[in-house]
């Protein structure tokens, strides 16, 4: 099974020229290989896609088949089509957390920082590669999800069918994909900051899921401004067709979420440099 070890191929004597130093592109290439060669990446993305598309179609079917919420069916069909994304965001956030924390739990981080001692470069490369991958996947999922939902609604001709060319509809579909990618990045930033999967996931769930519940229990004088500026709530405005009450406009809201993630990454980068690996 194990070959007989040989000493041939130890390579040239150490006087060989050093060659060019690695660049940021090399670090990105390495991070892409690391992301691509773990089965969990593809599996988690597939689970997220199935959750989003499957649940959205189911919820749309149910909502239109038995329109007890008749009013919403008429006013916010895109919101119903995108209902399954709530669970997709959670899955993507968890994937983001694991992309960083699996390095710490496995010991891979030692190899990573020995290969690239500039730790902030590693973080930046990880963020870039992961963001690009998620953006592509989430946009594809968002468009598939929209057109499938569109097909489901067309089975109920008595209701208006949202067209992709409708007011703010294209923006909402693209925005939903962007929001998915941002959820993943938020997870990555939390993972890099806390290094521990359980802790980072708990905080991520708190941010996405718990705040809306807590806000319901608070007087509106507190919950309205809280919801307005809460990063994940504000970021969600991009996927809305109609401007909601007590919320930032679509792009200001997205800016709010992006700023929040940026600050998390800044803190993570600082901790990465200051702490022992």
């Amino acid at each position: 099974m194990i070959q007989q070890p040989t000493l041939t191929g130890t390579g040239a004597p150490p006087a060989a020229p050093l060659g060019p130093p690695p660049t940021f592109v090399d670090t990105m290439r390495s991070e892409w290989t690391k992301l691509r060669t773990l089965r969990s990446t593809a599996i988690t993305l597939a689970v997220a896609a199935v959750l989003v598309i499957g649940l959205s179609a189911l919820i749309t079917w149910a909502a239109y088949g038995a329109p007890t919420h008749g009013k919403r069916v008429l006013t916010d069909p895109v919101g119903i089509i995108q209902a399954g994304w709530f669970f997709g965001l959670l899955t993507l956030m968890v994937l983001g957390v694991l992309v960083v924390t699996n390095e710490y739990s496995s010991g891979m981080v030692v190899s990573t920082f020995l290969a690239t001692p500039k730790r902030t470069r590693v973080l930046l490369a990880k963020v870039t590669v992961f963001a690009l991958l998620l953006l592509v996947v989430c946009e594809v999922v968002s468009f598939i999800n929209f057109f499938l939902g569109h097909t489901v609604i067309s089975a109920f001709p008595q209701f208006p069918d949202p067209a992709i060319g409708g007011h703010n509809v294209l923006r909402a579909v693209i925005g939903m994909g962007l929001d998915g990618a941002l959820a993943g990045l938020m997870g990555l930033a939390l993972g890099a900051l806390l290094r521990n999967a359980a802790a980072a996931i708990a905080v991520g769930v708190g941010i996405i899921f718990v705040e809306p519940i807590v806000a319901l229990l608070l007087p509106s004088s507190i919950s309205n401004p809280l919801n307005e500026y809460w990063p994940t709530q504000a970021g969600g405005q991009l996927e809305e067709v109609n401007l909601q009450a007590h919320s930032l406009t679509a792009w200001w809201g997205t800016g709010d979420l992006v700023l929040f993630i940026f600050l998390l990454l800044l803190a993570a980068g600082y901790a990465l440099v200051k702490r022992d690996a």
């Binding site: 099974m1 194990i2 070959q3 007989q4 070890p5 040989t6 000493l7 041939t8 191929g9 130890t10 390579g11 040239a12 004597p13 150490p14 006087a15 060989a16 050093l18 060659g19 060019p20 130093p21 690695p22 660049t23 090399d26 670090t27 290439r29 390495s30 991070e31 290989t33 690391k34 060669t37 773990l38 089965r39 969990s40 699996n102 390095e103 496995s106 010991g107 891979m108 030692v110 190899s111 990573t112 920082f113 020995l114 290969a115 690239t116 001692p117 500039k118 022992d276 690996a277």
Partner: protein, 306 residues
């Protein structure tokens, strides 16, 4: 060359590394020895910038690890055998590291062949035995064909054949002019591999010398003499300043004189000599003697009061 100067690191209550200063020269295998908990791994992590020192510096060919231009091509490291994700295939793991170091990916198959893992390169690293994990770690260290190698307990978990292989590899690398620093808590292993040894205990330097010098220093010239007429020789030895102990089988252990001097004295006394042997303590014994009281965890004998 690796230069360590006044390196100090404290973890809470423990002074893990205490004002360590030493050099590691190219062209030889240098053993880095100490009992468990002596601070060997912490020292290596400090040299590699994975842990930040409280005081002191460590440089590799003049630069700290963080400031090396192409670290993987300048220093090869085996720290913890399992520095990989268990779900990733061995070949993919090495590819990711090669890319990070801007090393041609063709090098991956070369180092897999070097360590004898060619046929299992497609397996997930999590399925590897400790011995195979060590080989994968050595493969990663050799990716950049570096002139400096730092290996932390490389023979851990290897079978006898693997141990011989690592030993031969390290000596071959040193003979090519590379700097090779190998940590171990096994003195016997270093006796066979290393030319120089740096011994630490409880974070501070105990010895920095050649293996020969270390043995000589500890044994302090002991000679075993066997003669049927010891009564003729003993007074002369005593007069020459040596101290003697008699072994149960009648042999005399002479401390403080070299073998030729003992032989001359016996000849002058007219006593026939049946045996005249310089006694060397093993490196193991020298190590035990040096690190006595310096090991972090000392076992009590069975039945000793707790």
């Amino acid at each position: 060359m690796i230069q360590v100067r006044n390196l100090t690191k404290r973890f809470a209550e423990t002074l893990a590394v205490n004002d360590l200063t030493f050099d590691v020269q190219p062209g030889t295998v240098t053993g880095f020895l100490g009992p468990n908990g002596a601070g060997k791994t912490t020292t290596l992590r400090l040299i590699l910038g994975l842990t930040r020192p409280d005081q002191g510096t460590a440089t590799i060919d003049g630069a700290s690890y963080q400031h090396l231009r192409a670290p993987m091509r300048e220093v090869g490291v085996l720290l913890d055998a399992k520095s990989y994700h268990p779900g990733r295939r061995a070949r993919d793991h090495l590819q990711a590291l090669a890319e990070a170091g801007r090393i041609p990916v063709s090098r991956v198959d070369e180092v897999l062949a070097l360590v004898g893992l060619s046929e299992v390169g497609g397996r997930r690293a999590g399925t590897f035995s400790l011995g195979m994990a060590q080989r994968l770690g050595i493969a990663a260290a050799m990716l950049g064909d570096p002139p400096v190698l730092l290996l932390d307990e490389p023979v851990n978990g290897l079978d006898p054949e693997g141990i011989v292989w690592v030993r031969t590899l390290m000596q071959a690398l040193a003979s090519q002019g590379r700097t090779v620093l190998v940590s171990s808590h096994l003195m016997s292993e270093m006796a066979l591999t290393a030319t120089r040894v740096i011994v630490v205990g409880r974070g501070h330097l105990i010895a920095d010398s050649t293996v020969e010098g270390l043995i000589k220093k500890s044994s302090g010239s002991v000679v075993r003499l066997r003669t049927p007429q010891s009564q003729l020789v003993l007074p002369r030895l005593q007069a020459a300043g040596a101290t003697m102990t008699t072994e149960p089988d009648g042999a005399i252990l002479v401390t403080g004189l070299e073998a030729p001097a003992v032989g001359d004295l016996a000849f002058q006394a007219g006593a026939p000599v049946y045996e005249l042997t310089p006694v060397e303590v093993s490196l193991e014994e020298a190590f035990m003697e040096l690190t006595q009281g310096d090991s972090e965890f000392q076992a009590r004998g069975l039945g000793a009061p707790a």
